[in-house]
Symmetry: C2
Subunit: 461 residues, 2 copies
Amino acid sequence: MKKILLLFTLALSITGVQAQDSLMLRKLYDEALVNGKCYENLRYLCKSIGPRLSGSAGAQKAVEWSKMLMDSYGFDKVYLQEVMVPHWVRGKKEEGYIIDGNNKIPVAITALGMSVATPKEGITANVIEVKSLKELDSLGEDVIKGKIVFFNRPFDPRFIETGQAYGTAGDQRFMGPPAAAKYGAVGVIVRSLTESIDNYPHTGTTAYDAAGKNIPAAAISTIAANTLSSMLKLRKLPLIKFYFKQNCQLLPDAKSYNVVGEITGTQNPNKFITVGGHLDSWDLAEGAHDDGTGVMQSVEVLRIFKAIGYRPKNSIRAVFFMNEENGHKGGTKYAELAAQNKEEHIAAIETDEGGFTPRGFSFQGVSGSFLKELNKSWKHLFEPYEADRLVAGGGGTDIGPLKETIPSVVLIGYRPDSQRYFDIHHTPNDVFENVNKRELELGAATIAGLVYLIDQHNLSF
Amino acid sequence: MKKILLLFTLALSITGVQAQDSLMLRKLYDEALVNGKCYENLRYLCKSIGPRLSGSAGAQKAVEWSKMLMDSYGFDKVYLQEVMVPHWVRGKKEEGYIIDGNNKIPVAITALGMSVATPKEGITANVIEVKSLKELDSLGEDVIKGKIVFFNRPFDPRFIETGQAYGTAGDQRFMGPPAAAKYGAVGVIVRSLTESIDNYPHTGTTAYDAAGKNIPAAAISTIAANTLSSMLKLRKLPLIKFYFKQNCQLLPDAKSYNVVGEITGTQNPNKFITVGGHLDSWDLAEGAHDDGTGVMQSVEVLRIFKAIGYRPKNSIRAVFFMNEENGHKGGTKYAELAAQNKEEHIAAIETDEGGFTPRGFSFQGVSGSFLKELNKSWKHLFEPYEADRLVAGGGGTDIGPLKETIPSVVLIGYRPDSQRYFDIHHTPNDVFENVNKRELELGAATIAGLVYLIDQHNLSF
């Protein structure tokens, strides 16, 4: 009888905890949806600051404003972490032409980040189209030498999550240029990493070999890529050539900062749950979805906790990482300092997949039984918000290094709906107008919900 | 031993069926994502035909083109169902002003569908702001008579599904005008049914009383509604007045059509699974999400089946209903004819909540045990596509009448992500450019998946 009573009491108290968690999540969502600040903060970041590539004046302005914003919220600590970052500049807008005999057909191109410039007069050469690094290898130096290599493998539309299509096509942009250089190519043109057929070239970083040979590399819009590919297939004489000119350069490393805000834990001030995105953005637009939404959601999590009067047991940090796009120096620095300061990190959550409707989270390197227990315990809490996919998967670029210095940390990636992301990713279209207020706010609330649950119950599945 | 063997064989065959279902769903999604036609079809409907309110030349053009499109796909039957529909026209663009002493502040308004016109000179009157029909009742004729009633209850942002916010605010638009007329109001202005703070008035139908008194009613943009409300609060003398003029009229009913395409069932030609959306749209834009996406997804389901060579056991119909927006005459006619022709209907699926990323389906009036079994059997099949929310809920306006004439039918609503819908719903912003290709295609594939499963396994949960 005693045992039954005990079980009954236990059951009641479990039910009580669950009811409390459920009520708290509702509170977090209400605060985000009724009094949310992340949309207006994002408007300022996009419209009054704008592009903020590492080392740029925009990046510095963004750092200063972000610190001011966090200060204004009255967090327990707000500070900068100094970090040296690559300083790449695009220079004058690129030019590109398909040369068909006497005709020059202008095409939309943009230099890949970290690429070198062409000579001042540009590069003109025959083009060899390839679909993969493997195909490049099979052709070898005899075919490649002196040519412009055109990587043209499109996104595979069959992936449901577009990030997977990006993942499987992305080797062309990152590894393509040095691979082509090895065979004596004079330049590289890469089909933009998107399924969308449009006329925006998508920039993004490419591998830069400080010791080796670097050749100029540019992204070309999908419409122009299709045109170039069609014209190459005609194989009429004289053969199609391609011309491009770009003026980018890599300046000496610049001083910059991660921006960190913290609510100190009441019970475990030296145990941390980190939520972060990256403050830097490509230079072509406003870095709205990449990753203005992520940083504004991160700080919103802390603002929501303060607004509803939630005092976390553990220390909660919002981190605006610098230099995710072309170097990852901010993430690396954060991990170094965490180890130096002997911080214990329970979890780090990264939001860098756009400010779209939440679907859930991916947990990096966790066991099957962890995932099973996690879902048993918490999935139902996120179900009313349709954000309950708790799956295995990557954490993110900026939090990755933390696992190296503090192996006990659990890395978690916030997963919004992925369908629209690569339509605008790294293009002039990544602007505030393409962010939906409710989608952004729901994301902030969802992340706040997970941080709350981890803070209350840890991650001991 | 025999029993164990039997169980074993049964288990194997169940596994076999599930594997086959899973493979078939993958095929449907691949066809939609790789060879999908709904996006280009939608482009034509939006850009070459455009607005298509019941009775308009656009609606007639849309009927003719839709039939041609279905004919081109070589379905087993393609035909029109004649139906008489209300023929309301907006006339010259509306004008509205807040009158503050000698100042006239122009505001964005649009006549509600089925509303009457103002007198030629417009209406000028004092304004009484109310938040609900109940508040209107509490004020009564003494306060209301001779005034313009301004319904200004905003969307409740706390609803996760925006359709619920629409549902709870919508009585103001539909029932507000006749309720105000009863108390002697001279006109009605309704806050646009959206959470978005913008300057687009959202039209939509209001109740028209053929026998009773009708007063002119218009929607006002949320920005203008906030302005008007703020100015009313000042209560300075002379009191704020409102002026508006609209030129709409209700013409005699017009002849129009539902458009029906059918793949006839190999086993049960007289048993039907209907998939439909509505072909008519409001006159202010292109009816892209409302409901061009729905009709184009419906016909895509049949196209996908033909493309992959799937021959259904039961007859599958794509129905483009006419007149969902201001009369529901097409849906009513379809239900009448189904009964007349003694058709057996297994299920009817409506897609009329926009062409956004799929989340799942809502099943109308089904039991808890039905839902439980349904989820046990099919949820996992939709999980890889993140479209696996199979919940209780409404079917839709156009398929509703079918339940009256054929009570055994199961009504099902297709549920896409709801966050962006009411930003553009019934406004000039409901254009093709606001539809994402992949989101639209994933929706078509998801609906095709459900139709396939119903066709194979029925709905006997």
